[in-house]
């Protein structure tokens, strides 16, 4: 090994704790980069492969009922490849030892109808497929089976088209169509209260009068076909059969949610590493600058002996690259491990049959190259400055730094401060850029910690607004099909039901100018007690007798203002297309809907006073009995009880949230520690003579520590509020990135979040201080004063 390389190794070893702190910051950036990108690639790859191997459809459409003969017309649509027709129904289940209402989608198994392209195949996890002729056998979705412990052989009762039927579970399965399983209208998965079941087509068709017909169709497309053309054709064909409008795969619910999740992951994969690499560049700059200023004379000597500028520069760059390499290697290892863990977490949260962990070599290369480039850029300036110094000047000791009277002194306030405090402030004033960068580094750490808190806080707030302020019912009963208003009497008559309000829901396409959106129009009662539409200040607003109120997000997407006319195409019944004035917006974090007074909506539909279901306020004491009564009402297809769904959601989310909170807190702590520890070490190195002199003059160790640590304490205290501002900004950016028509992430940062971020920063700086305290005890007064600076 060359002598210069030995020098490098030994110096690296001597500064190992600082190097390690920097390597940790770089490693964290690399780890989070690799974790997010590999998880992202894994999810993409797994989803792609799963979709392909199980022939996930590309266009989906629900309809009322069409005869199988229609398939012929659909086959003729240019661009259609395979077709799968199905019978799907929404049913209520009765599960032993579970009183609450359970609803489920009951699907006919693919391959059991004519024109079957075997689309949306299931992945059988356990048990067997349904044997032909077995009318009471079902396969249940794995998550649902797990939630209720439904093993093959288990039995459950389903109310199928008003008739109670006992079904036997023969298998557990997953489906590419239900990677994310949520009940209609829900936003969170609740595997205890909503399930997916498959059964043979024949008995299902018989029960719903679908023999020789279907009420759902899925298509795949030929290569180079135009998706929108196919959808338009399909809608045209299915219109007479009550088609509610076909959707493309990208709008398919499960796929949508998954895509949103991937989008969030992508944001994380870009924002976080940028912060880490930025901080790492700063740290390397600070540490290398100091190292170089300590080695001023050595550099001069090397140059005196004929080492060229580039050789000297390369020497220090090698040192930096070694530190970076440690970080990169550790980061890659940790990143792969965390990426695996995260992918598995996603496999759990979403229903994937397997997870293919994908680690693209280019991700690793990108992480390594980025770290190296950032590190070199961060150190180049100080290296360049060092080699530029003529050797003769390099060997002269550095000029004592020129201190100026500081601002406080110019203001005549110095008497307020003791001498040590003046030393602290002067030192900060002398190196304002370094102090500023230190503050920024600590602030960024603070902001990263806040982001994790923000996600949890946002969900809490979202739920509070949606289910605490806006939706006030205890239960929602959904009818099998629209029924007259008077059907509410039977609900009111149930013992324990305190208040009932009917509502009407119809699918519709809303269009303003060239922008359109498919959603549902909710007809609600005027002066509703159980559904409050809210303005931005969360005050209740009333829907005028005529006109439609839109979710604020939807109005923005359509770029429609109150008073303008909205084109509404109703997607059921007579499918009228009408113009309705948009009269206002309602603040909503979940979904993108339209609201009208129920009477006005029914007038549009040219139907009588029909409702699709009811919101119920109940006396908790009678809850069990109410469930039983509702289950026994043939008209009721399902009962939604959001509050328990939310609890269930929190249970499933707890792990994920904990994982992310844990990671970002840890990473924030790493940055804080890296910045604070390195700043302290450098301050110690720069000022050891000064501090040792003070010790000689009789200062106590605590007093000397006060000068050194006081500076960092001051910078930390300045950094925390700035970090709060950064954290707010970062959360704001993330929230903006996460916004979609499915949900908007509110920016609600409660006091807890601010406090815990500050706490982590303070603890990190206390740990650094404790480590520096040890170094202070080694401060050798005699030796320090003897050596030549």
């Amino acid at each position: 090994m060359l002598a210069m390389d030995k020098k490098l190794w030994r110096e690296l070893w001597a500064m190992r704790s600082q190097a390690l702190a920097i390597a940790m910051v770089i490693g964290s950036g690399v780890a989070i980069f690799i974790m997010s990108l590999s998880a992202l690639d894994s999810l993409y790859e797994t989803r792609e492969r799963y979709y392909r191997s199980h022939h996930f459809g590309q266009v989906f459409s629900s309809l009322k009922r069409a005869p199988l003969a229609v398939i012929k017309h659909i086959e003729e649509i240019p661009g259609v490849d395979k077709i799968e027709t199905r019978v799907i129904s929404y049913v209520t289940l009765d599960i032993e030892n579970f009183d609450e209402p359970v609803s489920a989608h009951l699907l006919s198994l693919p391959g059991s109808g004519s024109g079957s392209g075997l689309l949306n195949q299931i992945y059988l996890r356990d048990g067997r497929l349904i044997e032909s002729g077995r009318d009471n056998e079902i396969i249940v979705a794995e998550k649902f089976a797990q939630a209720h412990g439904l093993k093959p052989g288990a039995k459950l009762a389903a109310i199928i088209n008003g008739r109670r039927k006992i079904l036997t579970v023969v298998g557990q399965a997953l489906s590419p169509e239900y990677i994310y399983q949520i009940a209609p209208g829900a936003i969170f998965p609740d595997h205890r209260r909503y399930g997916i079941l498959w059964m043979a087509r024949k008995p299902l068709a018989s029960a719903y009068d679908m023999d020789g017909g279907f009420n759902h169709i899925t298509l795949t497309l030929a290569k180079n076909s135009n998706e929108q053309d196919v959808i338009d054709h399909l809608d045209e064909i299915l219109k007479p059969y009550g088609g509610v409008g076909a959707i493309a795969r990208k709008d398919q619910l499960s796929n949508r949610f998954l895509s949103e999740e991937l989008k969030q992951l992508k944001t994380m994969a870009t924002v976080f590493p940028i912060i880490f690499f930025g901080v790492a560049a700063f740290l390397l700059n600070v540490v290398v600058s100091r190292l170089i200023s300590l080695q001023r004379e050595q550099i001069a000597v090397l140059k005196a002996f004929g080492y060229s500028n580039s050789e000297v520069a390369w020497h220090y760059i090698k040192l930096v690259l070694m530190i970076v390499s440690v970080g990169v290697i550790a980061g890659i290892g940790t990143g792969i491990w965390m990426g695996n863990a995260l992918s598995n977490l996603y496999t759990e949260f979403f229903s994937f049959p397997y997870m293919i962990y994908v680690l693209k070599p280019q991700v690793i290369v990108a992480a390594a190259v980025m770290s190296m480039v950032v590190a070199i850029v961060g150190t180049l300036y100080s290296v360049q400055r060092a080699v530029k110094l003529p050797p003769a000047q390099g060997m002269r000791p550095e000029q004592p730094t020129l201190y100026h009277r500081m601002l406080i002194e110019r203001l005549g306030l110095q008497h307020w401060f003791a001498q040590p405090v003046r030393m602290i402030i002067r030192h900060i004033e002398r190196r304002p850029v370094k102090a500023l960068l230190t503050i920024i580094g600590i602030s960024l750490a603070c902001s990263i910690i806040m982001v994790s808190g923000f996600q949890k806080g946002a969900i809490d707030y979202m739920i509070e607004v949606q289910y605490g302020i806006s939706q006030r019912e205890d239960l929602i009963a959904i009818y099998t099909e629209p029924a007259p208003q008077r059907s509410l009497y039977s609900l009111r008559n149930i013992q324990g039901v305190e208040h009932v309000e009917g509502f009407r829901i119809v699918p519709a396409r809303l269009q303003f100018e060239h922008r359109s959106y498919r959603t549902t129009i909710n007809g609600i009662q005027p002066q509703s007690h159980l559904l409050h539409l809210l303005d931005t200040k969360l005050n209740k607003i009333e829907i005028p007798p005529q006109g439609v109120v839109l979710t604020d997000y939807l109005a923005k997407q359509l770029q429609i203002k109150p008073g303008e006319l909205l084109d509404v195409e109703i997607l059921e019944g007579n499918r009228p297309t009408v113009q309705v004035p948009m009269v206002g917006t309602a603040k909503q974090y979940l979904g993108s809907n339209a609201y009208m007074q129920v009477e006005a909506l029914n007038q549009l539909l040219k139907e009588g006073n029909a409702i699709s279901g009811a919101r119920l306020k109940v006396d908790n004491r009678y809850q069990q009995q109410i469930y039983t009564d509702l289950k026994n009402m043939p008209r009721i297809a399902g009962v939604v009880e959001q509050r328990s769904s939310i609890r269930a959601f929190y249970d499933t989310m707890a792990q994920t949230i904990l994982y992310f909170t844990g990671i970002s807190t840890l990473l924030g702590a790493v940055i804080a520690f890296g910045v604070i520890y390195n700043s302290m070490r450098i301050a110690l190195s720069e000022r050891s003579r000064e501090l040792a002199s003070l010790r000689v003059l009789g200062f106590r160790r605590t007093e000397v520590a006060y000068i050194l640590l006081g500076e960092l304490a001051l910078l930390t205290l300045i950094a925390i509020p700035i970090g709060w501002v950064f954290g707010y900004g970062l959360s704001f950016y993330m929230a903006l990135q996460f916004d979609s028509d499915l949900y908007r992430v509110p920016l609600k940062l409660n006091l807890n979040i601010y406090a815990s971020a500050a706490l982590v920063i303070i603890v990190s700086s206390l740990i650094s201080s404790a480590m520096i305290w040890r170094n202070l005890s080694h401060l050798d007064m005699v030796a320090v004063l003897k050596t030549k600076e």
Binding site: L2, A3, M4, K6, K7, R10, E11, A14, E297, Q298, A300, V301, L302, K303, A304, F305, G306, Y307, S308, N309, E311, P390, P391, A392, Q393, M395, Q399, L402, K788
Partner: protein, 247 residues
């Protein structure tokens, strides 16, 4: 002792390794302008052992630094053999130092993280036809201390390592800036003996800066500097060996 003229414009022999003419150097030290050299004419001859004497601030270090290509003059010219080093660029100066010059500094300037042997190797690794680091250490009598780190060596030993490091590449000129300045007289003598030995055995042109007049007795030629000017130059007819010196 033979008195020379204070300037040295017409050298008797044409074997000058360095030819310095009209050299001035000013630099800014904080808010103060320092005129370190105010017009120097001087030749240094091949194989000669020259001592540059002068008080602190006389400009001797600046002169040595310019000779060694560590610094550039404000005006005037310096020739190393036929090469004009005043107009050499950074890269040429680096090559010049790398191939021709050896330095010894007052504070040794060893690299603390390298052993004695490695400190020498740092230079031999980039030199064209160096001696072995061990050989160089043997020349200064430190073959037994090769694997010690600077911090484990005495000041005299450290300075001898520095000499070994300077001569290991077999330079044509050896420039020493107060080589005994940080040493007591006994240790200083050992260091001077090493320098003399190198000068005699390898024929290296040697220039030693000192403010210690006693050392002048071992030099072929003595140049006195004061206030950035040469005040006098003389040649010693008989040389005193270092062990006879005292200060």
């Amino acid at each position: 002792m033979l008195q020379d003229t204070p300037t040295d414009k017409n050298p008797t022999s044409n074997d000058a390794v360095f030819r310095v003419r009209g050299l001035t150097k000013s630099y800014q030290m904080g808010e103060v302008q320092v005129d370190a050299l105010r017009g120097i004419d001087l030749d240094l001859h091949r194989g000669e052992f020259t001592v540059l004497l002068g008080a602190s601030g006389s400009g001797k270090s600046t002169l040595l630094n310019i000779l060694g290509g560590l610094d550039t003059p404000t005006t005037g010219s310096v020739y190393y053999r036929e090469h004009d080093i005043t107009h050499a660029n950074e890269a040429e100066l680096t090559e010049y130092r790398r191939d021709h010059v050896g330095f010894v500094f007052q504070f040794y300037n060893l690299i603390p993280s390298l052993t004695a042997l490695e400190n020498v190797a740092v230079v031999t690794e980039i030199a064209k036809s160096p001696m072995k680091p061990e050989e160089a250490l043997a020349l200064v009598g430190l073959q037994n201390r090769m694997h010690h780190f600077p911090a484990q060596l005495s000041g005299g030993e450290q300075q001898r390592i520095a000499i070994a490091r300077a001569i290991a590449k077999k330079p044509e000129v050896l420039l020493c800036d107060e080589p005994t300045g940080a040493l007591d007289s006994k240790t200083g003598i050992v260091v001077l003996e090493a320098l003399q030995r190198i000068n005699q055995e390898l024929g290296t042109t040697t220039a030693v800066i000192t403010h210690n007049a006693g050392i002048a007795q071992m030099a072929n030629r003595v140049v006195h500097l004061a206030d950035g000017l040469i005040s006098r130059i003389y040649t010693n007819e008989s040389l005193v060996s270092p062990d006879q010196l005292s200060w």
